[in-house]
Amino acid sequence: MDIIKKASAGTLESSDVYVEIEPGTQGIQLELESVVEQQFGDSIRALVQEVLAEYGVENARLHIADRGALDCVIRARVETAVARGKGE
């Protein structure tokens, strides 16, 4: 089941990440801004794709503002945003 409504999770506090998700039609469109883009940008993008695949999300637009969150935090925020976006 795909994303049916706009949803978000997380905060803009240091060491957290703010995830916004909304319905899309052209696969996964991911916009990431991160304070650790240089050091971890690619690994964050890969992790987000991985979580979306796990939850069967094939079409969605995401805007992610990362303030240096650990992988476990990013995973939790994306999972929550997906659940909210699916109307769960």
């Binding site: 240091s14 060491s15 304070v35 650790v36 240089q38 050091q39 971890f40 690619d42 690994s43 303030r67 240096g68 969150a69 650990l70 992988d71």
Partner: protein, 470 residues
């Protein structure tokens, strides 16, 4: 001569004979509330003088108008001990042709006195002054306390201009810088914004990780063998450092230990330690908060010292040479204990040594307090992006996950192990952090040198390269 008061800043600058290509200097006790550097540089720009070197003991975000003067070639070279983020970012982008010269709070006065960095005109921001130029930082609406960093400028510049918003009848008693060095006095409406000059109060951290580190730091000092009568101590104004000072105070009071002195930039916490008997005196080169300003004004045991007296490596001796313990911060520490306080994790300039490497060189125990990682970036790296203080001068790194002791300090390490403190190898701290954060990709560096980091003895310690545009 009736007095040295001239009618305007412009007239004072004209009288000094300032010309293109010369060097002007400023001190930073008004910190991020300073109006003086900007008003002087604006007047100089209006007068058509160009190609100046600015030698400032520190530069803050309020000094952002310097960027315009750099663009217009009014300023073509900067010498400083510290530069905060707004200027640092622009410098890191490569806006200056000539690299910035970073010195330390001890190296700067040393190089001024040795004639390596001669000053043509020094501008002294004075919260109180009389008409002959006797001046002090202790009185007036813009009071900042100590004027320590301004002494070498006043004593060695070819011309000295005192700028004040509080002209008092001659003679100003309890002066810091005497009239003997001063050529001209200028009065202005305000030399600074009191809210930016000193903090109302500096506060200890409430972050649990910070408190764990602070407690460990105090325990390291307790078991170092140095905490006994005559003990001397310096700490920064960061939240965890202040918490460590508070824990240390509790230990000193409980065990009835009477220290000798506290030094450096002084906060209300150090004033409390003085007043409660932890120290005989405070040696103050700069006040960080209102309580420190009040104390230096009223307590004769709270002594103002010059930058040279504080930390100069070429003075016959300096306060840092008598220091037992210093607590310092870091943006990065590498596995050889080298410390970076100049650049952020993306390579942008956002700080500087200040007294970091001076106190580290002088103190018997130099301790870094830093969390294992900040916003996903491990503190311990294979090699810091910039060496601000060489690892040979650092003894201990305190993190929430363990304490690393420099291998050169075998005896200290044994003392701390015997005391039951969690001692780990510094490489373990790096691995521990990376297990949680992942291993960061190295940042891209440009090929142009934008700043040279000059060690306190005048040798080149490291270079900072530009950050390439994305």
């Amino acid at each position: 001569m009736n007095n040295k008061v001239v009618s305007s800043l412009r007239e004072a600058i004209e009288l000094t004979g300032l010309k293109s290509g010369m060097t002007v200097s400023f001190h930073h006790h008004l910190r991020n509330g300073d109006y003086v550097l900007n008003m002087v540089m604006a007047e100089i720009a209006r007068m058509g003088i160009r190609d100046l070197t600015v030698n400032a003991s520190s530069l803050f975000d309020i000094h952002a108008p310097l960027l315009q003067h750099i663009e217009n070639h009014v300023v073509t070279k900067i010498q400083t001990d510290y530069m905060s983020g707004v200027l640092g970012k622009a410098i890191s982008r490569g806006i200056m042709e000539t690299p910035v010269e970073f010195r330390t709070h001890g190296g700067r006065p040393s190089d001024i006195e040795l004639g390596r960095t001669p000053i043509d005109v020094a501008f002294i921001a004075a919260p109180a002054a009389d008409g002959m130029g006797n001046c002090s930082g202790k009185y007036g609406k813009s009071a900042c306390g100590s004027l320590g960093y301004a002494y070498p400028d006043a004593m060695n510049a070819k011309k000295v201009v005192v700028i004040t918003d509080n002209l008092v009848p001659y003679p100003l008693l309890d002066w810091s810088i005497p009239e003997t060095y001063v050529d001209y006095v200028v009065t202005v409406d305000a030399i600074g914004d009191p809210n930016g000059i000193v903090s109302g109060t500096t506060k200890i951290t409430r972050d649990p990780v910070g408190l764990v580190m602070a407690d460990r730091a105090a325990q390291v000092i307790r078991h170092s063998g140095l905490l006994k009568d005559g003990f001397s101590f310096q700490t920064g104004a960061g939240g965890a450092s202040l918490a460590a000072a508070k824990f240390l105070k509790d230990i000193m009071l409980k065990e009835n230990i009477h220290g000798s002195f506290g030094s450096g930039g002084i906060t209300g916490y150090m004033v409390d330690m003085l007043n409660e008997g932890c120290f005989q005196s405070l040696m103050d080169v700069q006040c960080f908060d209102l309580k420190a300003v009040e104390s230096i004004r009223t307590n004769p045991r709270h002594q103002e010292i010059s930058a040279s007296h504080y930390a100069s490596p070429s003075a016959r001796s300096a306060v840092v040479d008598s220091l037992d313990v210093v607590i310092l911060g870091a943006t990065e520490v590498d596995t050889d204990f080298n410390v970076n306080v100049h650049t952020d994790s993306n390579g942008y300039i956002m700080g500087g040594s200040g007294g970091h490497s001076d106190t580290a060189a002088g103190a018997r125990l130099s301790m870094i307090i830093a969390p294992l990682f900040r916003a996903r970036l491990p503190i311990v790296t294979d090699r810091v992006n910039c060496i601000s203080t060489p690892g040979r001068d650092i003894d201990v790194l305190v993190t929430q996950a363990g304490i690393a002791v420099n291998p050169k300090d075998a005896e200290l390490r044994q003392r701390l192990v015997d005391a039951g403190l969690p001692i780990v190898d510094i490489h373990e701290l790096k691995e521990l952090a990376e297990r949680t954060t992942g291993a960061p990709t190295h940042i891209a560096k440009g090929d142009r040198v934008v700043a040279n980091v000059i060690y306190r003895d005048g040798t080149l310690l490291d270079t900072i390269r530009n950050v390439p545009a994305k």
